[in-house]
């Protein structure tokens, strides 16, 4: 299998996609073929077409170096490091924002225009680009655009407020969907376990409890491995 894989990668680009798979045959081979796309480093069940799209987006460059550096500064201001966890920038939010700007192109003008607005504002007030201003100056710029009136639809708010809101949203999603952010949040799922109800102290904290009658109907996890059998009325016997 390894040999076949390496042989295939030699031909990459010339035959990939040209190999027809016949009706009866599962397409495992096709999948293998496509997974050899150069530089593709993901492993989460993409179809060949989806892999191509990811590579296309990754090979495209949207933000220039200056813009990316500004985003890096911004993400770290939005979610700075504390004594336990790094900043959103440390967690890789800028690269995620670069990808999303290409994946959802509707965001591009707001993002790019907003970055220009930041520099313009900072230049006007301090004669410095935003990223080169000191933290107090940067915060002075942000303080004017960081808060919004939740009663007014976002699309009707000034561009700089829309921009900052979008940037804050992407920064937080970028952070909390990273390994670091998930640990920070304390999310403990996405692993095999046996759900057996809400912990007692949590029930107490929130002032609720289980009905005994209800719980009696629920799964007895000690018998989860025993094959189910019923009587003719649908009563579970095992």
């Amino acid at each position: 299998m390894d040999r076949r894989k390496s042989l295939k990668s030699l031909f990459l680009g010339t035959v990939a996609g040209g190999l027809a798979i016949h009706g009866c045959k599962p397409e495992a081979e096709a999948v293998e073929e496509e997974s050899a796309i150069q530089g593709y480093s993901y492993n989460y069940g993409r179809t060949p077409k989806e892999k191509e799209l990811i590579m296309e987006l990754e090979n495209e460059v949207f933000f220039n170096e200056h813009e990316l550096e500004t985003i890096g500064v911004l993400c770290a201001l939005i979610l700075p490091a504390n004594d336990k966890f790094g900043s959103a920038t440390d967690a890789g939010a800028p690269a995620f924002i670069e990808f999303m700007a290409k994946d959802i192109p509707e965001m591009q003008t707001t993002l790019r225009g907003g970055l220009m607005w930041l520099d313009h504002k900072s230049n006007t007030d301090f004669n410095l680009e935003f990223k080169s201003a000191d933290e107090a100056q940067q915060k002075q710029v942000l303080d004017a655009i960081a808060f919004y009136d939740p009663e007014i639809p976002m699309s009707e708010q000034p561009l700089e407020i829309q921009f900052f809101s979008m940037m804050r949203n992407l920064t937080l999603t970028g952070y909390y969907t990273s390994k670091m952010g998930i640990e920070d949040l304390g999310y403990q799922g996405n692993m095999p376990n046996i759900w057996d109800g809400v912990p007692e102290e949590v029930l107490e904290q929130h002032g609720v409890s289980y009905d005994e009658e209800w719980i009696a109907k629920c799964v007895d996890q000690s018998k989860r491995g025993v094959i189910a059998e019923w009587d003719e009325h649908g009563n579970l016997l095992t």
Binding site: G92, Y176, D184, V198, V219, I227, G234
Partner: protein, 572 residues
């Protein structure tokens, strides 16, 4: 270009591999029949690491799970969506219908919600109750034995509650409610609304030696690698192959039409291979259409011949008519008592552990038929969108919204898991004027004429949605919560979703005793062509306030038994 014809003659050709096609494959192959399964999408096995999305972390996707490519998010296991490149559909008179398709072995069963509700006695004869729509030619007692068999074969958790129109069954024990579900139970009881354990097809307990038991990752929409939830591939087609069934799978094969002979009987199907874009023919003694309600109608309508000038089985002109989807409206609330949560793993099964079946008497209401309530909430795995407007709920406390800095961290944690949401899923009335037909002006990339939809909601459905909104608001208030967003106004149909959005479309090849007003008989056999059957949700006369899958499975089993019997008796 010559059409390539296979010499082999199958006993049965099954078009589609979802719930109906999967069940037909299992029952027919186990009866010893030689079966071809023709599927428009690729091969798919939830256990194949190359195709797997289960147990992946959000950062394994460069878009962190955003729904830019797959409409339910990057980790959802449906290859397709409401829009598929190269496979358009059109609309008539400015009406709306959104058509969801999933092209892969197992079809939509790989990602569905797995809510597995039997139709009740009233659901088969609802015209007797309110004079609307049409009765089914069969009743609950005809389907019950098959529901029982499906329960035992596939596995569904739930509880026997003795409710008149939500029948008992052979249930696996349900999982315990989560925290937000306990709040829901409390809130609903204040309004005298019933709440019972949900009924869903995940294995909370072992059902046989071949399938694993649920390990509570909450990711059933990603298809289960240990086969602990119901997907057509893992529970029906693969076991049938393992049992020695003579099954040939034709994947990436888009059926164009059912072929017929001079007597007008079916001889097989023609399909286009997506791999080489050439047309092929398969021969079979019987054809079972299970491509989904709209796709099967499309195939019938495209199967024109001198014997069937109006499309196969369409002398009645009823094919495509009576298309109906479930009604759907949603609302969410912020529950202050669910703030500041201790974190622990509450993934549970994918979806809700409790729900509310329809509970009211329409005599006191201004709309017919009912809806059930689905509940969501909890401390789910972050994905794209998590942390958006992180302190929006500050507004309820008179605090500023927005900002930046370390404070956002505590805001995110403070509000994590404090939202509860509801979806109402109800019954619409099947109308002749809601339909799909062939659009003669448009073909897909395979040269097959596409569907054109005509669909309008009536005040029946709008009033039902209004009632849902009122109910959801009441529930949220009962829980001491704040309703999020304004109630969608009349001009927006009270938040009633576009037809097709609930993905319960049924009714396009309706079942009946009268060939003038129906397409198939009560055995799902075309009135006009005895060797063609329809085994998806097309034959549904009405949709009920349930979900369609369990009934598709039961009916496909029943129809397959009949088919086997008819072949034995040499009637076909």
């Amino acid at each position: 270009m010559q059409i390539k014809e296979q010499a082999k003659v199958y006993d049965v050709i099954i078009v589609g591999s979802g719930a109906g096609g999967g069940m037909a494959t299992k029952v027919l192959s186990e009866a010893g029949l030689k079966v071809a399964v023709v599927e428009a999408g690729p091969y798919f096995d939830p256990a194949d690491p190359e195709q797997m999305t289960q147990m992946k972390w959000p950062y394994e996707s460069p878009r962190r799970g955003a729904g830019t490519v797959r409409p339910f998010g990057d980790f959802d296991t449906a290859y397709g969506g409401w829009e598929i490149e190269g496979e358009p559909y059109t609309h008539k008179d400015g009406t709306k219908f959104d058509w969801f398709r999933s092209h892969m072995l197992g079809g939509r069963t790989n990602h569905w919600g797995r809510i597995s509700l039997r139709f009740g006695p009233k659901d088969f004869k609802h015209k007797d109750v309110d004079g609307l729509g049409e009765n089914w030619p069969i009743g609950y007692e005809d389907v019950k034995p098959y529901y029982d068999k499906v329960d035992k074969l596939i596995g569904v958790f739930g509880t026997n509650e003795g409710l008149p129109n939500d029948p008992d069954g052979f249930f696996l024990p349900p999982p315990k409610p989560r925290l937000h579900e306990l709040f829901y139970i409390k809130g609903a009881r204040k309004s005298n609304m019933p709440v019972i354990p949900s009924r869903m097809s995940m294995l909370t307990k072992k059902i046989n030696k071949d399938r694993g038991v649920c390990f509570y990752c909450g990711q059933c929409s990603r298809a289960c690698q240990v086969y602990a939830d119901f997907s057509s591939g893992s529970c029906l087609i693969f076991p049938a192959q393992k049992n020695g069934g003579q099954i040939d799978l034709y994947v990436n094969s888009v059926v164009r039409e059912v072929t017929t002979n001079e007597e007008g009987r079916a001889t097989g199907v023609s399909y286009i291979s997506k791999d080489d874009r050439k047309e092929y023919k398969l021969k079979g003694r019987v054809v079972v259409l299970a491509a989904s309600a709209c796709s099967s109608a499309r195939i019938l309508l495209n199967s024109k011949s001198s014997q069937h000038p109006n499309g196969l089985g369409n002398g009645s002109n009823v094919v495509g008519k009576y298309l109906h989807d479930s009604t759907g409206a949603s609302r969410a609330g912020f529950i202050p008592d669910l703030m500041n949560r201790k974190t622990y793993n509450e993934d549970g099964v994918g979806g809700m552990h409790v729900y509310t079946p329809w509970w009211l008497d329409n005599k006191n209401l201004d709309f017919p038929r009912g809806y059930h309530i689905e509940v969501w909430g909890g401390m789910g795995m972050p994905g794209y969108g998590f942390g958006f407007n992180p302190n929006e709920f500050n507004k309820f406390f008179g605090l500023p919204t927005g900002g930046y800095g370390e404070g956002l961290r505590s805001d995110v944690k403070k509000y994590y898991g404090s939202v509860i949401g509801f979806g109402g899923r109800g019954e619409s009335i099947a109308m002749k004027d809601n339909y799909c037909e062939i659009d003669p002006t448009t073909v897909d990339e395979f040269g097959i004429p596409v569907l054109r939809f005509h669909y309008k909601w009536s005040d029946f459905e709008r009033k039902q949605a209004k009632h849902m909104q009122e109910t959801f608001e009441e529930l949220i208030h009962n829980m001491g919560g704040e309703v999020l967003g304004d109630r969608p106004p009349k001009e927006e149909d009270y938040g009633l979703l576009t037809p097709g959005r609930i993905i319960h479309e049924v009714g396009t090849t309706r079942m009946g005793d009268d060939p003038k007003t129906s397409v198939v008989n009560k055995h799902q056999q075309l009135h006009e062509v005895d060797n063609v059957f329809v085994m998806d949700a097309g034959p549904f006369v009405s949709q009920a306030d349930k979900n369609c899958t369990w009934t598709i499975l039961a009916l496909a089993w029943r129809a397959s038994d009949y088919l086997v019997d008819q072949l034995k008796q040499q009637n076909i």
